[in-house]
Amino acid sequence: MNHRSLAFRLALWYTLLLGATFALVGMGMFYGLEQYLHSSLRDSLRRRSSQVEQILEQGSAVISNAQISDAISTRVSPEFNNRFVRVTRAPGTLIYRSGTPADRSFDPNAVPPIAGTWLDGTAVRRTVTVQNQRLMLNATRIDTPSGRYLIELGSSLQSIDGLQDRLLALLGLLLPVLVICAAGGGYLLVNWALRPVDRMSQTAEHMSMQNLDARLPVLPTGDALQRLSLSLNHMLGRLRDSVQISRRFLADASHELRTPLTVIKGELQEIVSGDAAQGEVRERVGSVLEEVARLEHLVSGLLALSRLDAGEAQREWLDVDLVELAASTAEQMRLMAEDRGIQLQFPPAAPLIVRGDPSRLKQVIVNLLDNAIRFTPRGGAVMLRTGDSGGDIVLEVLDTGIGIPPAALTRVFDRFYRVDEARSRDDGGAGLGLSIAQSICLAHGAQIEVHSEVGHGSCFRLRFPRTPSDDPARPALAATPQMRSVTPAI
């Protein structure tokens, strides 16, 4: 799980918020309940207290302690109600104390007197702990004709505390479960909500200059996502148009150059081949002709590129033994290498079948070998190697040449790019060879990559995915996904 992903962060925030809300609600419930239970207990104590007060006030001055006890026992019946009652007459005579309550929640003899109530004169409420039992006590002082009394009424808080403990336990158990559910649910929900974005990015990922006709899926959600995909699609449309315009321009321009080139070349060749020109004139025309030849290569290179751009790469599409093709090409170029004092090595290998256009693939090998030979000093070596790597079929051209500086590595496949302007132009390169090689590779679903170290040499590697011809169920077209439109235009 990616910790910085939008889905993760959204789910996290969602969980935190939900958790905080649950905690607040739980706390509110807990304290609200406590408040309510305590106040109702308080009311009940006060009522009982006033009952006792009535007994004491009604009684005349001669009322005996036993009469008071009887009256309290029958009218209030504290033992039965689990209440504590203690009546004291000033200055300290105990008149009545209730017995052990029915639920035996406290021992009435152990309840301490509430200090200071004699002086105060008003009702006092205290919570005391007797033998690990919390008791709520309510003390009232009254003055009657028979004297001044202190009425103490109490009740155990056990049932309230038990209820609160149970609630706390329930909340403590429920909260983590709720948080976990919220986190999981939130993550799924966010992922589900982001799935259209995911699909859009996947489609966008598979787009290349070869299939600009593909469009992002548009979900009729009527919200920002729909607007986003629509506007991206419009942008793609405009991009395709402008790419098409520039491609058409390239194709048309190189096309239009061919007729005048034919005339220029033909006329100059006439002059040079005939007897009309001699000596210096002949040399000069020859020099012009060499430039014309370069122009011609440039134009045909550009046309080749524009055709590859348009996806017209394949003349033929068949199973090609890459090893055999490489071997024969290396053989044809061996003399060129030896001529420059370079050893051209090609270790024998078992056949490796790729699907493609043999003449195009050969063009790639020729381009790479030619480059390697051109940029390797006398005494160096160029190696052409084929093999199997990570399930892919790989062809490598390694040299011990001058290498490519790191800054130039990413640009060597760019059109008209030269690592060293002065050097390669003298060799007649137009800066299109590697670009053409790359386009051909792309048309074959292959990747071309370069590694290089200045002063030590370069390595160009072609990586062909395993041919689908191994798998008769799949049609050959699967090897050229860029040749088909992936998504119908919307």
Binding site: T259, E267, V272, H297, M333, L335
Partner: protein, 229 residues
């Protein structure tokens, strides 16, 4: 032999016409498809050189019309379009040969002659030039009394150059005939092979037979005919 060139580029048409007239052909020029059709309907031609992108009636259309009225007239297509599909399409439509601009005039002349079968492939088994002797059956090359050992590519190159002595063969013609188009524009493979061929065929002998025509290509001829560069 009367040839019709249908080509809207005036200069190119003139240049091709001049080259073919020099070879002894009678040439008519038409600048657009309709004019070309008029010529074809009015005269009897031995060969038609047709550009594809023509005003009024396109080359492809004209080719179809010609094939309907005159199925045997040899047609050589000259075009800037070199996509293979185009070639296949036009061969199917009845073109006899196909040449892509920018082409070499020499190449055009060779194609025209071979279409007219005026120059049937000379299968002389032994080609002789000065004291150089090339045997097509045994692939043996001798100069004077000396045997010359050539690799197969060197032999193919020499045989091609000797197929028409004194004619200048351009690099692209040589590449196309001896190698293949994969090497086009990339390498100096032709120069390298010519140098090696010279080392074996010319260097040990006083008379040089392989000549460079700068900017154009190579030709073989006896030195006394003309001063080589």
């Amino acid at each position: 032999m009367r040839l019709l060139i249908v080509e809207d580029d005036r200069k190119l048409a003139d240049f091709v016409a001049r080259g073919l007239r020099a070879e002894g052909f009678a040439i008519d020029l038409a600048a657009d498809g309709r004019e070309g059709r008029g010529y074809i309907d009015s005269y009897q031609y031995d060969l038609l050189i047709l550009d594809l992108m023509l005003p009024l009636i396109s080359g492809s259309e004209l080719l179809r019309l010609v094939r309907r009225s005159n199925p045997t007239l040899p047609v050589l297509i000259v075009t800037a379009r070199d996509a293979t599909e185009d070639k296949v399409k036009h061969f199917e439509a009845g073109a006899d040969d196909y040449l892509t601009k920018p082409f070499d005039l020499a190449e055009l002349v060779v194609r025209v002659k071979s279409l007219l079968r005026r120059n049937p492939v000379e299968r002389t088994d032994v080609i002789l030039l000065s004291n150089l002797e090339l045997n097509r059956l045994t692939h043996q090359v001798r100069r004077g009394e000396q045997n010359i050992e050539l690799t197969s590519k060197e032999y193919a190159l020499l045989e091609y150059l000797l197929s028409s002595p004194s004619r200048v063969f351009t690099r692209s013609m040589i590449l196309e005939h001896v190698w293949d188009q994969s090497f086009e524009g990339v390498t100096n493979i032709v120069e390298v092979y010519v140098r090696h061929l010279r080392r074996k065929v010319d260097d040990p002998f006083p008379e040089k037979l392989i000549h460079t025509v700068r900017g154009v290509g190579y030709c073989v001829r006896e030195t006394q005919q003309a001063a080589g560069p």
